[in-house]
């Protein structure tokens, strides 16, 4: 009853709910760190190599949240629920936030701001090179995520730019696959999901083209 009538009652709740949900992984890491510090055993603490645990956990959530953001459009098309689209920006920005924290943790804690070493790692270690590339793809998308930027760029150009997220998804998948010692199940699953999400777009794109092409021929003949 309270609040502006134009907003359905559930709209702000879903957004706040999503925000709360997306802070849980960070809170869990903080709690596990505190458990180690205080000598309790919450979720097993962070283990004997806490730096590795944190950086991998942040990486896991980065790719999961990137997948969620990539899934918004396909889910919207299949489910026929157009209102899902309004969460796309928020979910994308959260994915970017996790990727950024993951990267900052690598720079500040794992490498302890040893810029010479960090630069060497980026150039030499293929999995880090491709991971950095993924971040570079995401950065302009985060910077142009405001409504003002959409207006300034124009919808068509903005949409074209934001296709970079597909390449970020591919980079994220390769980053994970190359990081592990040999093939393990998780990166394969994530890669498969990303591949499906991208394949659906290719499929729809081809369908649209096919639908348009005969019209063009027909109009020429006419």
């Amino acid at each position: 009853m309270a609040g502006p009538r134009s907003l359905p009652w559930w709209k702000p709740t879903i957004k706040t709910g999503l925000h709360a949900l997306y802070t849980l992984p960070i809170l869990a890491l903080l709690a596990r760190g505190y458990a180690d510090y205080s000598g309790t055993d919450f979720l097993g603490g962070l283990g004997v190599n806490p730096i590795e645990t944190v950086i991998r956990n942040l990486g896991d959530w980065s790719i999961r949240f990137l997948i969620v953001a990539l899934a918004v459009t396909p889910v919207r098309r299949i489910s026929g629920l157009p209102q899902i689209a309004r969460y796309r920006r928020m979910l994308g920005l959260w994915a970017f936030a996790y990727v950024t924290i993951h990267l900052l943790f690598f720079i500040g804690v794992d490498q302890y701001f040893d810029w010479h070493e960090i630069w060497k790692e980026i150039l030499k270690n293929k999995f880090i090179t491709v991971g950095m590339l993924g971040f570079v793809f995401l950065l302009p998308l985060a910077l142009t995520s405001t409504s003002g930027m959409i207006r300034r760029l124009g919808a068509a150009r903005w949409r074209r730019l934001h296709r970079l997220v597909y390449f970020a998804g591919i980079a994220g998948a390769i980053h994970y696959i190359w990081m592990v010692k040999a093939i393990t199940i998780e990166p394969v699953i994530y890669t498969a999901i990303i591949a499906i999400l991208l394949a659906m777009r290719v499929f729809w794109w081809a369908q649209t083209r096919q639908a348009i092409a005969p019209q063009r021929v027909a109009s020429k003949a006419g």
């Binding site: 283990g47 004997v48 190599n49 730096i51 060497k120 270690n125 293929k126 190359w178 010692k181 040999a182």
Partner: protein
Amino acid sequence: MLIRRAPDIRPSEITPESIYLGRRAFMAGTGALLAGSAIPGIAFADVEPQALPKVIKSKYTVDEKVNSYKEITTYNNFYEYGTDKGEPAVNAPGLLKPSPWTVTVDGECNKPGTVDVDDFIKTSALEERVYRHRCVEAWSMVIPWVGVPLADVIKRFEPNGNAKYVAFQTLDDPKQMPGEKSDLVYPWPYTEGLRMDEAMNALTLLSVGLYGKTLAAQNGAPIRLVVPWKYGFKDIKSIVRISFVRNQPKTMWNQIAADEYGFYANVNPNHDHPRWSQAKERRIGEFLRRPTLMFNGYTEQVASLYSGMNLDTWY
């Protein structure tokens, strides 16, 4: 270029007896506590690690801060129990039956036979050796192993002139090692190998214990290899067969990715893994990465094994 400490072990580097005795007393106390907490009536596949009496200090010991028992027993690469390093500590103790255990020794030798590991532990002169342990994943620990030089065991079986290599094999039993159920990625059972002169080197240890006790399941109970100048994956766990062979044997990680995991797998800060640098390592318990030492700091003892070999070709 990165060798910082004199690699030979000075008498002053041997940890004073009193410190070990103190640790023993502590371990004995822990053992009693664990025994007391065992629930009667439930059959565990594993018995808790048992205290090993009469362990002699070896001169092959590094004077570096030893990693804690918890660190060594909760951070393990043992893919037969899961690919996450926390999983073996959870899964292995309830599944692996380390006693009775027989190791078959065969191949190019005059006296092939078997080793009953319980007897072996009782009758051998066990040594404690504090070794550096460097994983190919660029982390490291310092571990107080208990065992017998592999050379002493090999001599009993009298390998003949055709024995150029020694091949090792882990238990092949998916019931005890659930990871072995799927051959999709990994050609189970785990196999490893050494050249004969590497196997006979004084540093190469057949380990049956850790921190003065028998090995925990997740560390490769009841008997495993320790080759401290090589990456950890050479240290095959839960061994059931040792064979003397003419040709270089197939080894597990080498079969999966030969360009990434060589047969020799000597710790070498100058030869990077194709996907990551081996120049530095994170010692578990330390914040900053430390430089990795050539042959993991054991150049003095092992460099002669590889004289004339290009270590970039034979990685």
